[in-house]
Amino acid sequence: MGVIMKVTYFPGCTLKNKARDLDEYGRKSAEVLGITLEEPKAWQCCGGVFTTANDEIATKLSSVRLLRSAKDADQPLVTVCSACHNVVKQTNHAMKNDIVFRDRVNRYMAEETPYNGETTVYHYLELLRDVVGFSNVAMAVKKPLAGKKIGAYYGCLLLRPGKVLGMDDPENPRIIEDLIVALGGEPVIYARRNECCGGYVSAESPALAEKNSGKVIDNAAAAGAEMLVTACPLCKYNLEKYSSKLPIVYFTEILAEALGIKEEVNE
């Protein structure tokens, strides 16, 4: 497949540490699918959490700088971590639509030209669906997942708030299931696929996170899933920590596996 598009790629902190798999499988797969991921030279943390406090701009500035660098490169911005995607896309939405917030940020940054939310932000999954196309992904598959029963685990952050992220219906998502089908697997729909794993609560109250994560995995296993895929490093951490019932992998891993490049990445 030739080069379809060059994009600015933001891995984020976690993907350089705990979630190397998510990053590396993603990079290699993008290459195969004709997407060139260009990492900005200097990037900072996305901000970690999108605060909804109206007077808070400090934690969002690094995201704005990132969005601006994509605008300067005249490229869409692609992220893959659920949390980074959430923060960057919400910040971009605010820069585009919240005039008071935008003006304050622009005054503070004091750049020559203001940033007004011009950059298009894609989650890696959206890139696959909307730019590459799942049908083209299916055509690039070398080693189909051969009917493996896979549960998509969305968690709470990937799709919400639904109207701002505009990625999929948060209550009835299809995007990961459609990818699983494209890769030759069999998606398993289970009720708790969009419930929270416990998130950061695991630091404060491990018992609560254990309860949440356990419910998700039990529900998926009861529905017949043989493995779960996720886009979120924190989800993977919690699910793995509190249950060993099912293997949990990043969606980029099954993508690389189906594209026949998994071993290459691991060499």
Partner: protein, 665 residues
């Protein structure tokens, strides 16, 4: 030269509030042809009309301009006034200075200026008006009712009782519609079948009613009083007139695994089937998608067992052409698909069902013979959760639900809850609602009984999630009044799915040139004052095709539609619209442009002899308009490249004069 009178209406303060009506009357006095100009508070009132009549006599008026509301509102009124004073009604023009002027302007100065311009345009047109005389057409004294549910049946019965023949076209093998699937009916709890099936039998036995079951309307032509309709009679592979409905074939058919749509797929039927015991007509139908004989040519069991010899594997679809004077649309509704509401786990658990499925589960003729049993394991459920407004009142979710209230769900859910508590007092029933809406006769009392006498737990709040776990359904919901989150381990969850118009409605509307709203409900001619007529003449609306309705309301509308049809069919002649197209044969070059754009098929071509300047004759092809079919839409006048086609009442020179009058300002 015309002698024109101008009458400016105040419409109370509706117009006079933003338009200086005296100034308008004064300004129009000096327009060419105007000999009289005045204003009055309510021109449409008796006193106002008298002013017009007197002025016609006193000033020998030949044309009239009324500056008032939209012509949709009172054009007919003022035409009648003119006619009563001996003036041709088509010499009246309305300048709409209310909807298009006073209501949308806030400033008196600009409002007045615009009203004067609109008045001048109307005066310019009347100067070129000519008297028009409408033609007359005959009325075919037979009505067509499309859809054989309770709406269609009631309409047909009423029309037939008045002595007019009427045909019901029903796409399913039997009439009866949704009501035939229901168990009990609110608010009186009488059994649906007991009150519906006698009406079905009445319809079948009435000599004025002909039922085309398993049939669809495929083509509609013509116009009010004279519709030409093509009906497709789908091949049912059973001779309707010979089949006795004994049901032997349906017992012997070896193809037993066909999902039974009458029970919403909760059990199976055979490939040859009679939908239910009281079906009308009680005739078997072969389902071609499942019949082994039709698919492979090997079987023939039904033909062997049929003592009447009614089976005909070679049957083909037949097309019947009929003429009708009036058409009633009664195409009904369906619950929406639950596919996109997976938070309620409809696709994940058999024990999450819709309310219509619940009706079949409690119906004595249903798959469980009326015993309330869980579809998954046949056990009796002890805790049941009803979720209201699933897909109804769904803001900004056009891709999955509906913005409107489906209207019937509050009452049928109260009915379901009450029936459960009555039959199985050991069962706990929860109903989650946004609002409880019970505005009907004896409706609120009914709902109160469910709460107060039957102890149904009504909880204001919505269900957020249903998780199937083991044999239970874990329901997570909010209780808004107590500000609490609730977790209920239910055995059965019932979803009150929104209702939507039947899918056949949209193509039918296109055939009928009848308008629909964005939700595919048929639009009525006036939402308050003409609720059972479509804006298309001769097309009437009955039941849920026009909007969500319960049975009492549907039956009322069905009878109302019938009375409108009867009012049309008793007439021997209809007065047409004289504002129709006319071709100037001397200018027509026979190019067929007009024929191609005419949506009504009103234009044909004929060869005509013309005398040439050198006294020879020449045969030329020219357009000819059928005045009975032309609806006066004007498409041909725009398409005609040589300017031969013109629309009476809206002639090209009249329109241009209006435009000139506006541009002169």
């Amino acid at each position: 030269m015309q002698r024109i009178g101008v009458f400016v209406c105040w419409c109370g303060s509706n117009i006079a509030g933003t338009v200086d009506v005296h100034a308008v009357a004064e300004a129009l006095k000096t327009e060419s042809g105007v000999v009289f100009s005045t204003d009055y508070q309510y021109m449409c009132s008796q006193a106002g009309q008298d002013i017009i009549k007197n002025a016609i006599h006193e000033h020998s008026l030949t044309g009239i301009v009324v500056c008032s509301c939209s012509p949709r509102m009172h054009e007919a009124t003022f035409r009648k006034t003119a006619a009563a004073a001996g003036l041709n009604p088509y010499m009246v023009e309305i300048a709409n200075i209310r909807e298009q002027c006073s209501w949308i302007h806030k400033d008196m100065l600009s409002g007045t200026e615009k009203a004067i311009i609109l008045g001048k345009a109307a005066v310019a047109k009347v100067n070129l008006n000519a008297p028009l005389t409408p033609g007359q057409s005959t009325v075919t004294k037979r009505a067509l009712v499309i859809g054989g549910g309770i709406a269609g049946i009631q309409t047909a019965l009423d029309i037939a009782d008045a002595g007019f023949p009427v045909d019901i076209v029903e796409k399913k093998p039997t009439i009866g519609g949704k009501m035939a699937q229901l168990d009990k009916t609110f608010p009186t709890l009488d059994c649906a079948a007991c009150i519906l099936t006698p009406k079905m039998v009445d319809a079948a036995q009435n000599e004025n009613i002909r039922i085309y079951s398993y049939s669809e309307v495929t083509e509609v032509g013509g116009y009010v009083g004279n519709f030409d309709v093509t009906i497709k009679r789908k091949a049912r592979y059973v001779k309707e007139d010979i089949c006795t409905g004994c049901g032997l074939c349906t017992e012997k058919c070896p193809q037993k695994k066909v999902p039974n749509e009458f029970n919403l797929g909760m059990d199976n039927r055979r490939a040859i089937y009679i939908p239910f015991a009281q079906a009308v007509p009680k005739v078997a139908t072969i389902d071609a998608d499942y019949c082994t004989m039709l698919k492979t040519g090997k079987c023939g069991v039904c033909a062997k067992v049929c003592t009447a010899g009614a089976i005909d594997y070679n049957a083909k679809d037949e097309f019947v052409k009929e003429k009708y004077g009036a058409i009633v649309v009664a195409t009904g509704y369906n619950p929406i698909s639950m596919e996109k509401f997976d938070e309620f786990a409809y696709s994940q658990s058999k024990d999450v069902i819709t309310s219509l499925e619940f009706e079949r589960l409690t119906n004595a003729a249903g798959p469980t013979s009326g015993k309330l049993l869980r579809p998954s394991d046949g056990e009796h459920p002890h805790k049941i959760v009803f979720v209201q407004c699933v897909g109804s009142r769904c803001e900004n979710c056009a891709e999955k639900g509906k913005e409107y209230c489906s209207k019937i769900c509050c009452m049928y859910t109260a009915k379901h809850a009450m029936l459960i508590r009555d039959k199985y007092p050991d069962t706990d029933v929860y109903v989650f609602y946004i609002d409880v809406r019970t505005p009907g006769k004896a409706f609120d009392e009914f709902y109160r009984r469910a709460v107060e006498e039957y102890g149904v737990h009504y909880i204001k709040g919505m269900v957020g999630k249903v998780v199937p776990e083991g044999k239970k359904l874990l329901v997570q919901a909010s209780d808004l009044i107590n500000g609490k989150q609730l977790h209920i381990d239910a055995d059965l969850v019932v979803l009150a799915a929104a209702i939507e118009p039947d899918k056949s409605a949209r193509p039918l509307a296109t055939m009928l040139t009848a308008s629909m709203d964005t939700n595919d409900f048929f639009t009525e001619a006036h939402p308050k004052l003409r609720p059972v007529e479509s804006p298309t003449a001769g097309v009437f609306l009955s039941g849920c095709c026009q909007g969500p309705k319960d049975i009492p309301e549907t039956v009322s509308q069905a009878s109302a539609a019938a009375s409108k049809v009867i009012g049309l069919l008793v007439k021997d002649h209809l007065t047409g619209n004289p504002c129709i197209a006319q071709s100037n044969e001397l200018m027509c070059n026979g190019c067929s442009s007009c024929e191609r754009v005419c949506p009504y098929g009103a234009i044909t071509y004929e060869e005509k002899e013309f005398r040439m300047p050198d006294r020879t004759t020449k045969l030329r092809r020219v357009a000819s308009v059928n005045p009975a079919v032309c609806q006066g839409c004007g498409a041909c006048t725009v398409a005609c490249p040589s300017g031969a086609m013109d629309l009476n009442g809206f002639k090209n020179n009249q329109i241009m004069a209006e435009v000139d009058a506006i541009c002169k300002m």
